[in-house]
Chain length 140, copies 2
Amino acid sequence: MQLTKHTDFAFRILIYLASTDEKLIRIQQLADGFDISKSHVMKIVNKLVHQGWITSVRGKNGGICLGKAPQDVRLNDVVEFMEQTLEPVNCQEPVCVLTSACKLKGVLLKAQDEYLAHLAQFTLADLVDKKMIDVVRFIE
Amino acid sequence: MQLTKHTDFAFRILIYLASTDEKLIRIQQLADGFDISKSHVMKIVNKLVHQGWITSVRGKNGGICLGKAPQDVRLNDVVEFMEQTLEPVNCQEPVCVLTSACKLKGVLLKAQDEYLAHLAQFTLADLVDKKMIDVVRFIE
């Protein structure tokens, strides 16, 4: 039930952007800083731009920055948007013969609702404090 | 955040054993019924035997059956025991440079607690009803 790398990296990038003093960050900076391939960073950033959480500025001195205030990015929304699936189990691979009578998925979905409801109480702003700002400054 | 196949298959096997009329079920029956390789079923059954949730009877007419009453097998315990990790994110691969100041993992762990607390309200017995018993009879 671990979050996928996709969601994990989205959080790393968003936390970084919410903590930096720099106006625009280059994809290469993120790739180097997090030791993630540039193409992987691009893929995640594109999704976050599409959602409006990141703004991209083109050109020689371009880069990316947060597209919303950190307090407007709810943690449950990031998980729901970035996870490849919110199906708690995959009953189709291999097709489970018990599916037609199974109550497990319903119970797991309710448990997942509790998980997401907890995250809905927090925003990106709750993850950024002086300590995090200092860490990001140190990396830069 | 989907459960691993390992946990999923453990649930399939436990629900089956809790619903069948037969006294002992052979590994081959489970492998055939669920279209999972025999070695994979064996691996999962061995873990469940180790935990006391399944009892194994050796010999020509041997097989496996539930080792505990269905109402004594809590769903959260199955998830906690079968999942490879309960780390909500893997901050070590690649090592995240933000880790020393990061509050995300703490928030995710609390959300996971909510998830598991919901599951703790249910046991294997809650997943077995007449409909499930009929489905298992039909497979057999």
